[in-house]
Homo-oligomer: 727 residues x 2
């Protein structure tokens, strides 16, 4: 595949070019050395690229950063103490809460290490390094392969690489960059005994709640502490009393100098997914269909759940996490749609593609090399639109009803379990089984029968409303099987499935999870039977997606190649939940006509927002400490107050939550936890005049620990002397 | 009453003292001369006090300012052209709208003078001057009068003064200042033929709707034009085709220099009501009871009406004005409550009163003179609390159901009509009859039977829920009379009253309005009968209020006297819908921690907010004009854009809506239409660090007139040459 290698060289060459001061870019760690070092030094970076991460020795500051799977975090003590966002630790707080011990409301602080609570379901993935495996993967692809064969070949290569990597005891993750231009294998240590150490009350950690979500000014103390535990021999192990704190190679120290406006700051974390190279036709489909439909569905589900949650305290606690998830997705989707429309992202992409096409067409060599790329990609995107309503609905089926989600899980595992491990779909191999089993076991914690029925019924209703040519046969047949029609059929089918399933029983559920396909089918569990009946349709959809991916994997790298050649600037790959660096400055913004966001908020602002009513209900301890004038060494003299949150120009996205924000010396100055609503469309296109990331200032975190929650032992563990007590 | 005169002199003396640069103060026009003239000149005022208003000749710039009764406005041409807010002209737009001619949505521009539409119900009160009548009123009060006698004596004096004044053909208004320390008689010409000349589409005039109400950044083109018409002989007359435009003595010219940040600006207008001298005990009652209860009721009524309005287009148009009114009151009340709590106004007043009491107690002379005032006022306020739920509900009865409101009106008029004119309650004299009749006749325009029933039922429900000791006997008896209880009684009574009333029939209603009490009672109209039965209770409440007022009228002037002596600063009277001047500068603000409001918004910001969906649906003409780059001479070079709205530090309140904002030369630079939400509590206490008034910039108004609505003839009438056309 000579063309691919040529492209690789081109990009490496481009990455050596000086980088402008723009704060765009989620850089892979080996790319740091290729950035403009003088510029970075001028901005305030005092570390060498190798001190952040040395690809040769596979060591550096980045070792202190870990993934929680969906969130980022960092070690802050030699004893495995981890700081992340409150919302990232929320499930750990929730599973330990009960009407008797409401840690969500009251917060939690372990009085001693022995009293740290198991954060069931949590994993800490400690970063150990990564290798370029592009050559191996590209070598597996033959020119005459069909799209499906191409994807299968890449998957086979992935499995072999991952299996070989995990033989050494690491947890390994395969990642495609630039749509298939490059491939990497990331190694982590997978720590499974994670414990909740300290979480402030929700009224600090989630201060402002949904009202302030994505907003500025912000005053959320969005931080919590976990600890990684390992077996006495230092190996990763399931929770056990005799386990001991993990000792990381590196951990972050708290900042020794105060952060101010204009200061350099960098973030190491795990941004989830961006779509910077998505073509206009795909953005149009997202704008015209995907977000509008999805937002309507989510809004309705939230309404259903909130109504249920209001019925009892226990329902409220059980459903809170699910509601939060829906609410966050909804606000995200709505903000995204508003932003896409307002900033005319699709139109701008169209215009850019017209220019690119003209540039390609203007030169015969370019035309021969890239002339077919954009039309071919557009045709692929257009081809998907015929079944978009059905495909979107099929993507929801596991998220509405937890019980039906469980049915789909046991069906898929039974199907895959019948295959040799190496032939299974990624995510369903032996290596994935423990995690899947754990998630399935924990279903009870967020399962509420009445709410689950409502969501399931709504799913049926959505399926019943699909247009001709996009029907889901399995659901149509099941509805017809009730002998009724319309709402009556939906009610009858729901009744039959909920009465005829044993999935709500944990023991029965876990037994089904262990079965092969034939045994599972022999159970005649009504809900599992529907999942089995649905499988041909989801399989057909999966296969169509593979064909799409198999075509795209030849096209997208060539688009990126053309873009790089046209623009003559360095490129970074789209976010894909792998470790990245983004550097920036602390800076306010004029988000809309007539309005200015200052770069810092303050403790006084926290109190100013207090209404006594959720989500603006400061705990008494906080109000008392402020009233008593206790501000200690956490005051920023320029602000005359303790900073609460701050804005930066970092290029971040979902998954970056909990990432450490560090100063030029690599010391912790805050935790990223959100972006302003104006930044949402940066997933599609980064605009440095409007995009701002939101972090909680480490000084606010320490102030709360010192004066409100008296987490003095933890402060000392982090090397900070509490001001409110002497040891 | 020697003490009173002494106090008067004291205040006059204090008013001569130099005034600090604070922008607090709604000054009476004769007080302008006592303000610090050097300070005003330094700020940018280029007029002498006499040029604004000369009390001797009773002439000046203030002649150009008029009242619409509830809104302010100003003349802007020699032919009686009046500019005010869109929301002030809204009823005029509404009553002329129909499903065929939806001027609310489409806007209205009279093609010629003959096509200007009657603004039924509108009055223009042209300011002619005012006289100090304090001596006459004080002379009417005898030392040994009971509280009721005192109020009756003041009312008698008022009636005599008003009657004598109106004998000359003017419309006269009696006004108490400083709680009875001073009294004035204001003379106006009452123009009754008012016509709608031009209103932009609602999507300009109400751009941002309820979402942006009280908010910044703001982009509302809240302006509309009316014209005052008089009989050919120049006298005020009812609408008639032969009427001719009124020629005012003075009218405002458009600004000849561009307004910028930091510039001086002054407002002449009719602020409705402030409570700056209200004592802490009264503020506490407002915070703990009045606003929370009222807001709950309004929120519920809005919900009921919105539900009804959604049922049909005609119901929507008919109810829109009522919903707007409730929505505005609700947002106002909720913002007020939030602000009172947040700014701790009651606590601050308490602290201030403790200091004042200490200062009074510290000196035997002061103790003898004022020692009894605060305790006596507190006792009066406390005494009212025993029946506060019932009294608050009685204050609603006329606002919920329009039909029941009409019943109360005809009952009260019948009762008063039995008395000699001079003995009637103010507001129910012969002079008030035409206006009351007109309002009653126009009821149909905002009456929707289904919605009216819902609100009436809710009123009954609220009455049924009153605590013991505060029951309303008439309603209890009517409910008991149905022979049913609970919800069933409420439904049955509503059915009976709506079936048994002819008030919905205009002719029958107007006939009843003309009846004396005995004839009215003989009609046996079910709803009127309830109004008659209710009267003893409202009369008892009215009498209790008179006793309260009669006691207060001796106390409040003494409180103000003590305050003035203690603080040693000049005082201005509370707003009471009389003409006032407030001066200020154009200035942004930091309203909350982390946020800055810039002083100007721009045309680009108008477009930036456009979503195409109400209330952010710019008309196509506006978007086209912007897209075509049409900005003309309305661009402010400092902003690089046409200014849309601006912030000032003016001291304003409801009633000021539509007030002209003038530069130092007295030229029109904008129209005040709102305040920021942070300013709401300024009704209780002015805080110049947070209070900001919001005005629409005259340049945005002209830009819309020029490029969007092509109101070129009106522009020429105002002396402005349109840029988009040549005559």
């Amino acid at each position: 595949m000579p063309r691919r290698f040529a492209l690789l060289l081109l990009v490496v060459c481009l990455l050596s070019a000086p980088v402008a001061r723009a704060d765009e870019g989620m850089w892979m760690l080996h790319q740091i050395a290729a950035l403009d070092q003088d510029g970075l030094r001028e901005m305030g970076l005092q570390l060498t690229p190798q001190e952040i991460w040395d690809p040769k020795t596979q060591t550096g500051l980045a070792s202190a950063v870990c993934s929680l799977g969906g969130c980022s975090a960092s070690f802050v003590s030699p004893d495995g103490l981890i700081v992340t966002n409150h919302h990232c630790a929320f499930r750990a707080i929730q599973v330990n809460s009960s009407p008797e011990h409401d840690y969500i409301t009251d917060g939690f602080l372990a009085a001693a290490r022995g009293e740290e609570l198991p954060a069931s379901g949590y994993h800490v993935y400690v970063f150990k390094g990564y290798d370029d495996v592009t050559a191996t993967v590209h070598a597996a692809i033959e020119p005459d392969m069909t799209p499906e064969q191409r994807i299968a070949a890449i998957e086979q290569a992935e499995k072999k690489l991952v299996a070989a990597c995990e033989d050494g005891g690491d947890r390994c993750r395969f990642a495609e960059m630039f749509g298939g231009l490059e491939y990497y294998l990331f190694r982590t240590m997978d720590i499974r005994d994670v414990r909740l150490v300290y979480a402030p009350p929700r009224s600090i950690g989630e201060y402002g709640g949904e009202i302030d979500n994505w907003e500025w000014p912000r005053h959320t103390g969005d931080f919590s502490f976990l600890r990684a535990y390992v077996a006495p021999d230092g190996s990763a192990a399931d929770y056990a009393e005799e386990n001991v704190p993990y000792h990381p190679d590196r951990w972050l120290k708290l900042a020794s100098t105060p952060l101010g406006e204009g200061d350099f700051a960098m973030i190491l974390g795990y941004p989830g997914r961006t779509k910077r190279y998505r073509i206009a036709a795909a953005v149009e489909a997202d704008t015209d269909h995907y977000y509008p439909v999805r937002n309507r569905v989510l809004a309705h589900w939230m309404e259903l759940l909130e109504h249920e949650a209001a019925t009892s305290t226990s329902a409220g606690i059980v459903l809170s996490s699910k509601i939060k998830g829906f609410a966050n997705s909804y606000k995200n989707g709505q903000g995204m749609l508003d932003g896409l429309l307002k900033l005319k992202i699709a139109e701008r992409k169209r215009a850019q593609e017209r220019e690119l096409a003209a540039w390609i067409a203007a030169d015969p060599g370019r035309a021969a090399r890239w002339g077919d790329v954009l039309p071919a990609m557009e045709a692929l995107v257009d081809g998907r639109q015929a079944t978009r309503d059905r495909d979107l609905l099929l993507s929801y089926v596991g998220y509405a009803s937890s019980l039906f989600g469980a049915a789909l899980t046991v069906q898929r595992w039974a199907e895959e379990r019948d295959k040799p491990d190496a032939e299974r779909e990624p995510g369903h191999q032996k290596r994935d089984e423990a995690y899947a089993r754990q998630r399935l076991a924990l279903l009870d914690r967020s399962f509420e029968p009445a709410a689950d029925r409502l969501l399931f019924q709504d799913l049926l209703r959505l399926a019943a409303a699909l247009p001709d040519g996009q029907r889901i046969d399995a659901i149509d047949a099941a509805l017809a099987g009730t002998g009724k029609s319309g709402e009556e059929a939906i009610s009858a089918l729901t009744d039959r499935l909920f009465a005829g399933t044993r999935l709500a029983d944990r023991e029965a559920r876990m037994k089904m999870f262990a079965m092969d396909a034939a045994t599972l089918a022999g159970q005649h569990d009504a809900m599992v039977d529907l999942a089995i009946a649905l499988r041909p349709q989801t399989r057909a959809r999966d296969e169509a997606e593979k064909r799409y991916d198999g075509d795209m994997v030849l096209l997208e790298p060539r688009l990126i190649e053309a873009l790089a050649a046209w623009q003559g600037r360095p490129l970074y790959p789209d976010a894909n939940s792998t470790l990245r660096l983004t550097y920036a400055t602390v800076k306010g913004v004029e988000p809309r006509d007539g309005l200015i966001y200052k770069p810092f908020t303050t403790l006084s602002g926290v109190v100013e927002k207090n209404t006594g009513k959720e989500p603006f209900n400061c705990p008494k301890g906080l109000l008392d400490a402020v009233a008593a004038g206790k501000r200690g060494p956490y005051v920023d003299t320029r602000l005359g107050d303790v900073p609460s949150c701050f804005l930066t120009t970092h290029d971040t996205t979902g998954g970056n939550s909990g990432s450490p924000v560090m100063n030029g010396k690599g010391e912790l100055v805050g935790l990223l936890f959100d972006g302003t609503i104006e930044s949402m469309t940066s997933d599609y296109a980064f605009d440095d005049t409007t995009t701002r990331s939101i972090s909680v200032d480490a000084r606010y975190m320490l102030w709360v620990m010192d004066y409100v929650d008296h987490a003095h032992a933890l402060m000392r563990e982090m090397g900070v002397t509490p001001a409110s007590s002497t040891p």
